[in-house]
Amino acid sequence: MESALSVEHVSVSLGGEWILHDISFEVRRGEMVSIIGPNGAGKSTLMKVLLGVLQPSRGRITVHLPPAAKNRSRSIGYVPQSRQMDVDTSLRAWDFVSFGLPHTLRPWLNRKERSRVREALELTRCEELANQAISRLSGGQRQRLYLAQALVRNPDLLLLDEPTSNLDPGGQEMVVELVNQIRQERGTTVLLVTHDMHIAAKYSDRILYLTRGRYAIGRVEDIVRPDVLTTLYGAPMTGIHEETHTTAVPSRTSSMPYLEV
């Protein structure tokens, strides 16, 4: 399958500390890769580097644009981890989504742009929210709007930085299910940062497991294994697979109780 993104020997140093060290991987077009790992592992830093807002200290990133794509920034949609918005601002959802359109010197939206905003709202099931103030929406509805803003420029690559972090389990499942549907319908390549191993296992083709200084990429059953996790964390770890849940936990040690499952 055609490559959508190549990351070659990328290292990032911030404040004299290596946040990412010699990371290489490739993402195929239409693939969904979840990036998981503990806090401080460099997941959001990797997102910023892929987005181009942070330059890697070493290595190279290539976004393979399809022939129709105009430029890199228009081909990437991004949903950041947190939004610095005044909760009292009564901004309507339609305006918020239209912000994501490519910028021109023309202040008004033409017919094509209006239809793209409508399409993004429909795709994320937000049509009925178009004239609602963002301040009155629930966390799940806002998250769908953030997704709509990222989709309005019809990106080939979608970067989602913990899009479900403030949602209840039902809301998390709904947002990722929606992302998965959009990916299947449009062939969009998706990189999803999440803490939820269950979501990563259920929806992703592969997972990129990052820990401080180490990483592994592969199918979930290949990564969530005692030998791989122990290498990643540098301490005895094991994976727990249940029907509805997959997680990495410390292995039995003399000081730590271990729950058999």
Binding site: L51, V53, R83, T89, L91, R92, H103, A133
Partner: protein, 280 residues
């Protein structure tokens, strides 16, 4: 009233400045820059006092001081200039400078009073052209940069992620704001620049959720304030600035009241009834 040249000039200049302030005020509120606007008005006052001391055109002094402050403050970055403490230090320095130039300037007390309280009815034809030119220039820049400025003002994280030149937008907006403050200062004075820059926009935020309508309502409210202020002042002889501030305040409280009433009238979402059985 319109048989007098000074009233014609006052209405023309006042309308241009009101439209400009009303529109730029929406972005002042969205970007949380009300305190910086207040600071710029005092920077403008110090600049004008300096210009009077040097026997220059006061507008030139105001523009020199406010644009220098905009570039310096903008260069520090949004994380610094959105904090109150560094800005209040700048505010106290420029106020001190303004007072120094005021004390060094002799026999110009009328000019200085006009800078503090405004002198819209003392504007001549050449000043009207000057104000129209500046207001049109600022509005053209705002129209061309509308999409980027709106995105960065209402959703700064999203704008940065989308690759917008957010630092450049910040400095450019502060420059536009500083020029607008220098212009508005001649109408309402340093003490009441706040009135035209924030109150109409705050009222507009209470009325609508659409950015384009906020801009329209804010400009209309600013124009209503200036026109009513000029008319009431003409017939009562009280200061124009007082009437402008009073009319804008009435409009703001009326809009806020309407917003509160409308929100009370909105149907509340009833929680679904869930019964949980505890019987085994």
């Amino acid at each position: 009233m319109f048989q007098y040249d000074f009233m014609q000039h006052a209405f023309l200049a006042g309308t241009a400045v009101a439209i400009m302030c009303g529109i730029i005020g929406v972005y002042v509120i969205a970007r949380g820059l009300a305190f910086i606007t207040h600071t710029f008005s005092h920077v403008g006052f110090a600049g004008a006092a300096f210009a009077v001391f040097m026997s220059w055109n006061p507008l030139a002094g105001m523009l020199l001081f406010t644009t220098t402050a905009a570039v310096s403050i903008g260069g520090l970055g949004a994380k610094v200039f959105r904090k109150d403490i560094p800005i209040s230090v700048v505010l106290s320095i420029v106020l001190g400078l303004g007072l120094l130039f005021l004390s060094l300037t002799k026999g110009q007390s009328n000019a200085m009073m006009a800078l503090l309280f405004g002198s819209i009815v003392g504007i001549d034809a050449s000043q009207v052209y000057e104000m129209f030119g500046l207001a049109v220039g600022i509005l053209v820049v705002l129209i061309l940069g509308y999409r980027m400025l709106t995105f960065d003002s209402f959703d700064p994280v999203g704008a940065e992620s989308a690759g917008l030149p957010t630092r450049f937008i910040s400095i450019a907006f502060l420059l536009l704001l500083s020029i607008s403050v220098a212009e508005a200062l001649q109408i309402v004075g340093a003490l009441l620049v706040f009135t035209l820059m924030t109150t109409p926009a705050a009222a507009a935020f209470s009325l609508t959720k659409s950015v384009s309508r906020m801009l329209l309502f804010s400009a209309v409210f600013a124009v209503i304030g200036v026109w009513s202020g000029l008319t009431l002042s003409f017939y009562t002889n009280a200061p124009v600035s007082f009437y402008i501030a009073a009319v804008e305040a009435v409009l703001y409280f009326a809009c806020r009241g309407w917003q509160v009433w409308r929100e009370k009238m909105l149907p509340s979402v009833k929680p679904e009834h869930v019964s949980v059985s505890t019987e085994m």
